[in-house]
């Protein structure tokens, strides 16, 4: 499935929501989050963004945003921004999200301390991503 497509996001959220530890991981966190792939000269000239909201211990609403600027209107509790190569490193487990945020490779808007406290729950996302075949647009053969 193509990274940052609606189909890919649906599959990842389905897997994340199926995890028994998710309610504990989400407890006390801000209601919603947007993840943004920054504009680049490659496959994302207009950037890409996805948004999700949690309630009752699971993700209840999510969508790929048509325009990266929609994030400004939604004003989610957290906005996580990074260029594609950094997202690839994070999704492949080759980079630590907390270290990436602290070093500035990933820009986080919102209460970073809440996210740092939940760094131990990273396995929920890692396991979900392992179950979803991810194809990156810059690696699609042609």
């Amino acid at each position: 499935m193509l990274f940052a497509s609606s189909e890919w996001l649906d599959a990842v959220v389905r897997q994340v929501n199926a995890h028994a530890d998710l309610p504990r991981a989400l407890a006390g966190l801000g209601a919603d989050l947007a993840a943004v792939v920054e504009r680049d000269a490659g496959p994302f000239p207009r950037g890409a963004a996805a948004w999700g909201r949690h309630e009752g211990g699971r993700i209840v609403a999510w969508r790929v945003l048509e325009d990266e600027d929609d994030v400004l209107e939604l004003e989610p509790a957290y906005v996580v921004r990074a260029p594609l190569p950094v997202w690839k490193d994070l999704l492949r487990g080759q980079a630590d999200p907390v270290q990436a945020a602290l070093s500035g490779r990933v820009k986080v808007k919102g209460d970073l301390d809440g996210l740092v406290r939940r760094a131990g729950y990273r396995y929920i996302v890692d396991e979900a991503l392992r179950r979803v075949e991810t194809v990156f647009p810059d690696e699609v053969g042609g």
Partner: protein, 97 residues
Amino acid sequence: MSERRKGIPEALMEQGVRVATRAAKVVLDDPRGQEVLAAAVGVAQKGKRQLEEVQGRVLRAAGLPTKGDYEDVAKSMARLKRKLRDLAKKVDEDRKR
């Protein structure tokens, strides 16, 4: 061609980043370390917010736009952009009928 020799400041910076990365990993692997790091990040973010508030007050007193003003404009523009997009879609649908 050989790589340019690094200056002392660059070498020190690289070494510093390596040490900090190793230290961060040790801290993050320990739940107590995670809590300490989270608290430190919270304090730093609070300090940054307070600084921005002071900056905002100074800019406002000088009759200049603040970061918040720019953010409000950006939000309004994003809303307008989305409404135009919705309208364009509606016009397209009406045309097809």
